[in-house]
């Protein structure tokens, strides 16, 4: 299905997914002819039921998986392998259990060869920014899921990439903490101007956070619908969640997705 890009035409494209297809060596077709553009500074969700290939698509954008067809272009450059322009936030946090929060957050910089004093200064800044100040010397197993993902987010921010790739970042976190993290993410993004590609299977989360929602259908993964929404940046979270447009959008997406669940 083609992309009806009408509401935000003026915005520059940060990431372009161009005709991407993915067939695994086993013959399973995970993605077919995906074409999506991600405007700079926007948060775009990839939403769909399990098996729609949304995480595979994110890993292709991250350069972790080479697609069998098509290409990904970030800031005008075709992706071959992980790009310095993007940083990844993992569903399971991907924190090294043997390292403190400080070392974990500084790890991306450590791998890039940044000197210890410098990278730790940068890491401390982002640890504070995600609300973990004081936890620098704690180990992941001493922290809640919410705190761990804050550390994962700080690590992604610390390498100063334009594009944040978030793979169901809040799905392993309990409900109340998830809402808090969603709100904190939105206020953080008002400070850090990032292009965010956000994979989720939660309709509410997608509608609440996104500027645009790309809905994928399964077997094989294809773009089924693109919905633009600008609810995210209007007013406080409670207002947004009670907004009739929010409720209507959740219902509309739900009725569209329901048929894939049988």
């Amino acid at each position: 299905m083609s992309l009806p890009d009408t509401t935000v035409p003026a915005r520059e494209v940060a990431v372009k997914v161009d005709g991407v297809g993915m067939v695994y060596p086993t013959g399973t077709e995970a993605l077919r002819d995906i074409a999506v553009e991600f405007p700079r500074g926007a948060l775009v969700s990839l939403l769909g039921p399990s098996g729609c290939g949304k995480t595979t698509l994110l890993k292709i954008i991250a350069g972790l998986i080479e697609p069998t067809r098509g290409q990904v272009i970030i800031n005008g450059t075709t992706v071959h392998g992980p790009s310095p322009a993007s940083a990844f936030v993992f569903q399971d946090f991907a924190l090294m259990p043997w390292a403190t929060v400080l070392r974990n957050v500084a790890f991306g910089l450590e791998l890039r060869g940044v000197r210890k004093r410098e990278r730790e200064a940068i890491a401390r800044k982002y640890i504070a920014e995600v609300g973990l100040a004081g936890a620098e010397n704690r180990y992941p197993h001493e922290m809640s899921g919410g705190m761990r993902q804050r550390a994962g987010l700080a690590r992604a921010l610390a390498v100063d990439a334009d594009v944040l790739l978030m793979d169901e970042p809040f799905s392993a976190i309990d409900e109340q903490m998830r809402r808090k993290l969603q709100e904190d993410l939105l206020s953080l993004l008002r400070v850090e101007k990032k292009t965010v590609i956000f994979v989720t299977h939660s309709i509410e989360e997608a509608v609440y956070l996104s500027d645009r929602i790309v809905i994928l259908s399964p077997n094989p993964g294809e773009v089924s619908q693109v919905v633009d929404t600008s609810l995210a940046h209007e007013g406080d979270p409670e207002t947004i969640r009670r907004d009739p447009r929010y409720v209507a959008l959740v219902d509309e997406i739900w009725s569209g997705l329901k048929r894939y669940l049988d």
Binding site: W98, L111, H141
Partner: protein, 247 residues
């Protein structure tokens, strides 16, 4: 309190059993514990004991170091690289369960009657359990840690040293602790089969001259040393155990 001292109490109980049995039946191969303990104080002062200890320690140390240096990278390689695993896994499993004592006499014509053979014996006894445990540890490393390192442009070497090795460390240390147990067996068996070096020569001497107090004294000393070594590695192992569960 009682629970902490329980092992000590059983030890004392068995020591008493030894003493009483040996006193009452008076068989020459099993002297009473009290005279064996006197033997311990004598043996540790002998120059021949100190030389043997030094020689044994050296053979054990070199053999263990070789086992770690070869075993850890090999096990990590098997854990991440399928073809290496297919090629080596069977052999590692064969050698870990094989009665390697039988091989030691075959090493002598190859490596000579001396330290080299003993070192090779320690290595053969110790390396396989390190290989298999390092392999196991690497397989438990969370794959998203490797993805994470890759998104930050980590080189293969950096992934190996900064993710795989520390990630496998709990299992690697378990492997080393078990390897110490096997290495102690290896060093003593090697020396006894050769019968000319280190504690092997001393055991041989005490048996030939029928000085059973000293023979049992040496046995006790070696038991205690081996126990302390294993406990030492166990202490380090427990320090990293906290993250074995949270990977």
């Amino acid at each position: 309190m009682a629970r902490r001292f329980a092992p000590l109490l059983t030890l004392i109980a068995w020591a008493l059993v030894w003493e009483v049995v040996a006193q009452s039946v008076e068989i020459s191969v099993l002297p009473p514990l009290s005279s064996v303990l006197v033997g311990v104080t004598e043996v540790v002062q002998l120059k021949s004991f100190r030389l043997a200890l030094l020689e044994t320690g050296r053979a054990f140390g070199i053999g263990m170091a070789l086992s770690v240096v070869v075993g850890v990278p090999l096990g990590v390689l098997m854990g991440v690289f399928r073809p290496a695993d297919r090629l080596l896994n069977v052999w590692a499993n064969v050698f870990i369960s094989a009665p390697l004592t039988a091989v030691v006499p075959a090493l002598m014509p190859l490596l000579g009657i001396g330290q080299t053979t003993v070192i090779a014996t320690v290595f053969l006894f110790a390396v396989w359990v390190i290989v298999l445990d390092a392999r196991e540890g690497v397989r438990k490393v969370n794959p998203s840690l490797i993805d994470m390192a890759r998104t930050h442009h980590a080189s293969r070497l950096a992934i190996f040293t900064k993710i795989l090795v520390p990630g496998a460390l709990p299992e690697v240390l378990t492997g080393i602790r078990l390897a110490v147990v096997r290495g102690v067996k290896g060093v003593i068996i090697g020396q006894i089969v050769i019968a000319l070096v280190g504690f092997g020569a001393l055991f041989d001497l005490y048996l030939q001259t029928f000085s059973m107090e000293r023979f049992w004294a040496l046995v006790i000393i070696i038991f205690v040393l081996a126990f302390l070594l294993v406990e030492g590695v166990g202490l380090i192992e427990r320090r990293v155990a906290f993250y074995a569960k949270s990977r």
